[in-house]
Amino acid sequence: MSWLDTVRAAAEAVRAHRLRSVLTMLGIVIGISSVILTVGLGQGAQDEVEDQISALGSNLLSVSPGSSTDASGMRGGFGSASTLTLADAAAIADTDVVPDAAAVAPTSTTSTSVVAGETNWTTSLIGTTASWLDVRARTLDSGRFFTAAEVADGADVVVLGPDTAGELVARGSPVGETVRIDGNALTVIGVLAPSGASASGTSEDDVALTPIGTAMRVTGQTPSSVSTIYVEATSGTTLTAAYQEVEALLLNLHGLASADADFTNATQDSLVATANATNETLTILLAGIAAISLLVGGIGVMNIMLVSVTERVREIGLRKALGATPTAIRRQFLVEASLLGLVGGLVGVVIALVGAAALPALIGQPVSVSALATAAALGTALALGIGFGVYPASRAARLTPIDALRSE
């Protein structure tokens, strides 16, 4: 029996029991589409984090308080518990001690309400120094950033992120207007340009920046403790050297051995790795659950193929009487099972692609489906069909024509 005839016979058998075939494929369809979608969601989240972190700039080191290396320590901001101080930042800025640092910007971040006229908006208040703009590779849309002199004086000035400005002032430029934070009047001197970091609505564009002394005064924080110190290396090639210099300096200042470090010094790469490790764990967990549903789908194929063999004992016997070899029978049932797997897989891929197109709008999460993952899913569906078809097919092949013909 030729392969073409075998495939045709299998397709006819699948079509002859349309409803049953569709229900059998459903398991594969659900399994394949959920595997593709969960992996796509994980990949999408990972891409987004990478985008955000790379928007920080490639020469950037960030030093945060606490020794934690997990994701929660990444953003720092332990407030009064901070182990980093303005003195640390000043020491890093000393080019004799850290020659590979081009600029240093300590930041102190708190959540606070900003009031403009009748409007009240909660945002991140970042107290920092004049070098923040360069270190974070940001630009201004209008107005100017605060100067070193204003930082030294703790001047009552504020620079708004573009989203914050939009929320507080409906029309026109807010530059020159006065806003209030905890009753303190601050003059808006500039508005940042959008950060360009991937998805809109990230905190990068919803901020209010003031000189660090001003921020500590209006929010009543422990003087001199900071949440993150950003250090810009002189170039991408000196990043590692700068990292080691900062590490050695801070350990020395704090009088600690490196195992007891009370701060976390991270490059952009290590931030990406940390964020990805978390994402990956979640993705693997979800994909694992999806894979189990795929396995259940495969068992469904086997179940139906076994039922089919039992039901078609008479047909199998007749085919054998007419000259079908055991090999021809085994092949026919294997091809039938693979067909169920393959068609189920194809439908699953289509559903996953439709889902990947529709989901971001529904749940606000990016989904990135790769061709490789799709091909792998299809291959898996086919392999499942074949794998779970082997046993039913060999049962069919072993039937003797007599038992088969007598069965009625």
């Binding site: 029996m1 008479r314 007419l322 000259g323 070899t325 055991p326």
Partner: protein, 231 residues
């Protein structure tokens, strides 16, 4: 004349969990090419068992079977499948047609397993259906045909590979008298055209058409009559 079937002390024992049953107890018999043989005997005497062995659908428990000079009692499953495909045509009491396929697709099945190309298969299937008088029913499914027509489709299927041996197990057992006459007429024609036919039946008027009658009883051949010897 050459012998197409040679059976030597064939025994067949059915074994199931607790019971053993000897359905054939030493059958010796030779059938020449071109003979028309009827096997008669009461129900349960072993006629179908004998036909299954003759048709290479089952192996004897003991004894030797030569089909057209070839020892088939020791052949592999795949080898037997090829022998069945090439040398033997079957007609069963229950027709055994595939309900989902139209008549011509049922008839072409043996050619599919013989590896005949598709276009030639259809041509030969249509010719065989024409031969049994069903040229106008080639696209009907078995459910749309009468019992007699279904059995004629089955005969067309048995003929399509041009086998030298035709085995029919009670082919008229489920048919009315008109259809019986049709089917028996067809078998007569095929015999006249030179085919060897072994016909199993328990009806004496059916057996009377054959040139030779083997009477089987409790798994043994108890009489072997040539036509005219009894009448």
């Amino acid at each position: 004349m050459s012998a197409i079937i040679e059976l030597e002390s064939i025994r067949k024992t059915y074994r199931s969990a607790a019971v053993e049953f000897e359905a054939l107890r030493g059958v010796d018999c030779t059938i020449q090419a071109g003979e028309y043989v009827a096997v008669v005997g009461p129900s349960g005497s072993g006629k179908s068992t004998l036909m299954h062995l003759l048709g290479c659908l089952d192996n004897p428990s003991e004894g030797r079977y030569h089909l057209a000079g070839e020892d088939v009692s020791t052949m592999s499953e795949a080898g037997l499948a090829e022998v069945r495909n090439r040398r033997i045509g079957f007609v069963f009491q229950q027709f055994h047609l595939l309900a989902s396929l139209p008549a011509w697709r049922n008839v072409e099945l043996p050619l599919v397993y013989a590896g005949v190309p598709r276009s030639e298969r259809r041509e030969r299937a249509l010719a065989a259906l024409d031969r049994v008088g069903l040229a106008d029913r080639v696209d009907n499914r078995p459910g749309e045909l009468s019992g007699g027509q279904q059995q004629r489709v089955a005969i067309a299927r048995a003929l399509v590979t041009e086998p030298s041996l035709l085995l029919a197990d009670e082919p008229t057992g489920n048919l009315d008298s008109r259809s019986t006459a049709d089917v028996l007429g067809l078998l007569d024609e095929l015999h006249a055209a030179g085919r060897t036919i072994v016909l199993i039946t328990h009806e004496h008027d059916v057996a009377a058409r054959a040139g030779r009658r083997l009477v089987i009883h409790d798994g043994e051949i108890v009489a072997d009559h040539l036509a005219g010897a009894i009448a």
